[in-house]
């Protein structure tokens, strides 16, 4: 899932200081799971902003709404009737994708309430870690299911490097060396010989550089 975290409250409050009525839109997908922008977080942000504003002698009107998915036009259409002209500003509590979809669909100025951090999973309740670097050319079959692109600080394909010490990465004693993890896993799988193959330089043209990537599935196109 996409993992995000809320921006500091004062930063959001500063951006909405001119507005009298705001719509706060949550998203029921990834940001609900990572407890950053779901229905509950929408409620807490709305209450916090109302309380902050009330101290200035003015009041803030908030409308709370949580869309099934902000990154899908159909759910924004379902939301269209609540985006009335008296709403001065929309605060999107989705990832960067949701914010852009809302900004594109509606005329109101849309601002993000979250910082989109990473694509990852839950380590324990309240802790999420990055697991995919979106390189566009998955190599997990070669590395025992451990991603060297994002879990190795240098994204090297023929590791480990000299900074691997006692199974940890030199960047921090709490960060495991991805290549140590890969070695251990491949040893357990009995596939250590596969690591003897030298990986050529990765084709990064399938990764982020070169404009927004697009995926087309022609058989489902209408």
């Amino acid at each position: 899932m996409i993992v995000a975290e809320q921006k500091p409250l004062v930063e959001i409050a500063e951006r909405i200081k001119e507005a009298n009525k705001v719509l706060i839109v949550g998203c029921s997908m990834c940001v609900t799971v990572c407890l950053a922008g779901g229905e509950k977080e929408v409620g807490v942000l709305a209450a916090a902003l109302r309380l902050l504003r009330a101290q200035t002698g003015r009041s803030l009107e908030t409308v709370e709404y949580t869309a099934t998915r902000q990154c899908d036009q159909e759910y924004l259409e379902a939301m269209a009737k609540i985006v009335t002209p008296d709403i001065d500003l929309i605060i999107s509590m989705a990832c960067g994708v949701g914010v852009q979809y809302v900004a594109e669909r509606f005329d109101q100025w849309t601002i993000p309430a979250l910082n989109t951090k990473l694509i990852g999973g839950t380590l324990e309740h309240g802790v999420w870690e990055e697991r995919c670097g979106l390189c566009g050319d998955c190599v997990l079959h070669k590395t025992g299911g451990i991603c060297p692109i994002i879990r190795c600080s240098k994204s090297i394909l023929n590791g480990p490097c000299g900074g691997s010490q006692n199974g940890k990465c030199e960047i921090s004693p709490t960060t495991p060396c991805a290549w140590q993890l890969i070695y251990d896993k491949m040893a357990k799988l009995g596939k250590l010989e596969a690591l003897l193959t030298i990986e050529p330089v990765k084709d990064w043209s399938k990764a982020r550089d070169g404009g927004p990537r697009r995926v087309v599935k022609e058989d489902v196109a209408l």
Binding site: V44, L51, A54, T62, E64, Y65
Partner: protein, 150 residues
């Protein structure tokens, strides 16, 4: 300001603080009358929305009274409440209300005198802090809309 009586809301767990309040009453113990109690099935029932709502409706101070750690009827409710209170104190600091207007206390159902002491202690704290900076008249009611099912 000496005759000012702060509005204080106490979210009390049914298994400890609520019973302790009963005991304090049976013992004829005196504690400030400005503490409004809200019974909770467990302190783990409280969440930031409820506590913020109290401040929106004009509370000058809010406290959560939970069972002694390790004695929660539902095992971990009071630990969860502690984490939420801790987090919300930081949010209240950001909001400008101040985290010291929110507190968490642990007591058992047999601690009637401690219950009265907590009420006095917290009331004294809020009296020294003065009224909440939030004027409830500047709070517009929350509007919550839900997606239409298709």
């Amino acid at each position: 300001m000496n005759d000012w009586h702060p509005k204080i809301v106490a979210f009390c767990c049914y298994y400890c603080a609520y019973a302790a309040a009963d005991l304090a009453g049976s013992l004829r113990l005196q504690y400030p009358a400005n503490v409004r109690m809200v019974e909770q099935p467990c302190s783990g029932k409280i969440d930031p929305l409820i506590l913020l709502r109290a401040f929106e409706e004009g509370a000058d101070g809010v406290y959560v009274a939970a069972c002694v750690e390790g004695d929660c009827h539902f095992l971990k409710g009071n630990i969860r409440a502690k984490q939420r209170v801790h987090q919300l104190k930081r949010l209240l600091d950001e909001i400008g209300i101040g985290g010291q207007r929110l507190e968490m206390y642990n007591l058992s159902s047999s601690m009637g005198s401690r219950f009265a002491e907590v009420a006095r202690e917290f009331t004294a704290r809020i009296r020294s802090l003065g009224p909440s900076p939030v004027n409830p008249e500047n709070i517009k009611p929350a509007v919550r809309l839900t997606e239409e099912k298709r």
